[in-house]
């Protein structure tokens, strides 16, 4: 039996369109195979990697270099933005 973990994906600003229709408020609760990395998770939704400027895992910044190495755990939330700023 394939082990799955429950995770959340949040795609904001122009990336919101990559979420499936069942998503609500820019947020999708789903499950992935155990061992899935942050990068694989985002890739599965067709989000271009170059558009993933700001990636937070449970609110903590994920540099591009670690996204392919960080394995998702049960309850993790990944939030992604294109280049944005404010103030």
């Amino acid at each position: 039996m394939i082990e799955m973990v429950g995770v959340t994906l949040k795609l904001y600003a122009s990336l919101g369109g990559y979420l499936p229709s069942e998503a609500s408020r820019n947020c999708l609760e789903t499950s992935v195979r155990a061992g899935t990395t942050v990068e694989e998770f985002i890739d599965a939704f067709g989000v271009p990697r170059e558009a993933c400027h700001l990636v937070l895992l449970n609110g903590v910044f994920q540099p591009p270099s670690v996204r392919s190495k960080t394995v998702l755990k049960e309850g993790d939330a990944v939030a992604v933005w294109p280049p944005v700023a404010g103030g």
Partner: protein, 615 residues
Amino acid sequence: MGWTRKILRVDLSSGKITTEPLNMDWAMQYLGQRGLATKYFTEEVDANVDPLGPENKIIYATGPLTGTMASTGGRYSVITKGALTNAIACSNSGGYFGAEMKFAGWDMVIVEGRSEKPVYLSIIDDKVELLDASEIWGTSVWNTDAWIKTKHQDPQTRVATIGVAAENGVLYAAVVNDLHRAAGRSGVGTVMGSKNLKAIAIRGTGGVKVKDGRAFMKATTAAKKVLVDNAVTGEGLPMYGTQVLMNVINEAGALPTRNSRDVQFEGAHDISAEAMAAPRGSDGETNLQTNQACFGSTIACGRISKIDTKHFSVQNKPEYWHASGGLEYEAAWALGSNTGVDDLEALTYANFICNEQGLDPISFGATVSAAMELYEDGVISTENTGGIELKFGSAEALTKCVELTGLGEGFGKELGMGSARLTAKYGRPELSMTCKSQEFPAYDPRGIQGMGLTYATSNRGGCHLRSYTVSSEILGIPEKTDPLSTDGKPALVKAFQDATAAVDSAGLCVFTTFAWTLDDIAPQVDAGCEGDWTPEKLLETGERIWNMERMFNHRAGFTAEDDKLPERLMKDAAKTGPAKGLTAGVEKMLPEYYELRGWTPDGVPTNETLSRLAL
């Protein structure tokens, strides 16, 4: 060039209007706008002056690149001693008013004294008059703008004015120009109101000369390409505005919520940029109608919004059914998560009223949130509030409070004092989320440590725009640093403070620095102005300005004791998010910051530092 080299001086007490040449020695040292006007101010005004007395002065100042073809070159600042803070105040605004001042031929307008009767200052190129404002005294920003344009029979007239809030002594009243751009912070509008000066109306028909036209065009064109090609300034800011930060900062666990009791808001999405752009269930329209640019800006981050006409706040009020200045991030935070209100339309209405009556939405919202905590703690009741049930999350309470504060009626008079005075009055000063009596904005220092040092050391009181380390700590611009660590933050804050002072003083928008460095800015300043402006010289100028402001505050009685954050941030750890368990580490950072600044352990610039900076 760049500068018009002319200053207008207006004595409201005598009605005398004079002109004088710009002190070019000072321009070489302080560049313009914030720096140069603060030099004039600190030379002419005693630091211990009563902010609301006739001895205080108020300066409206442009930078050398204001009104030029440099991108975002439309900024001006209002410099005075702040009514809210009793500290040096410099409040910066965009729109079109600043550029018009340059077109009329003036680098700055210095206003002194106090008029016996309400007046407004009319500037049409060299024709300058003080005119009767009794008909518009007691009326709103929006009415004043329309009245002056009609009277002058010139829709191109640019107006900077106070609303009713300033006339009624609200201590965080703003100067609003072009209907919804504001020099919002520190109570600069209150100072203007204390002088019986309702507005300044400007029409200019000249241009701005630069030192080397060919080099200036080359430098500004290259710099514009940098802004357009940059994903943040070329796409992110125009499309989503500053409000896109709402979900970012909430996810990062640094969104001050319910008077900083919490650092994350469950309703953040409902008041975010994404919500502004989504069709409403009620009428199918979007809150956000379009974006808007200030003079010369190739970024165009401004928001223009429309309230749902069926929303309770505007029922039977058609005057608020049109599109007007929408929510920026700081306003949405102050009026929203900080009060626990997740009703986007109510927030937009409150923002409209802040623009209409001339209120700083940051200080207003933060004062309401402090009052809500007083109410929920049972310190005040409906007897104090005039019947308002001032609970966190109440959109009805928020909208009633903004109406009362704007008009200076009922409980609005108490809210107009700001949170420091309000909470002190009721014996709970620890509930005021302020630094130097000014409410700090939308970033909790427990989750973004550099912002704690930013707030504590800001010369104008709690403020994000003096060193926006969020750029590095959260957004990774120019390089990513850890928001939860204090390591390296004193140097980061100092670098941001000095560079920002230079950008402000040039007359440019600080948002350009999401793409530009001083290497992009210096060639534009140097091609526009005499003085051999290099990145190094700009940075040194910024450091000089910072120390000049600090010395004014020192003379006004501020000490290292004032470089502190509210107790809540120092003692109560964040309850959720990445910063869970952390408090603000500002006390750890201050000694290193003082040392880097060349200040004594008590936070006073040493003679050596002052000498090095020619102060």
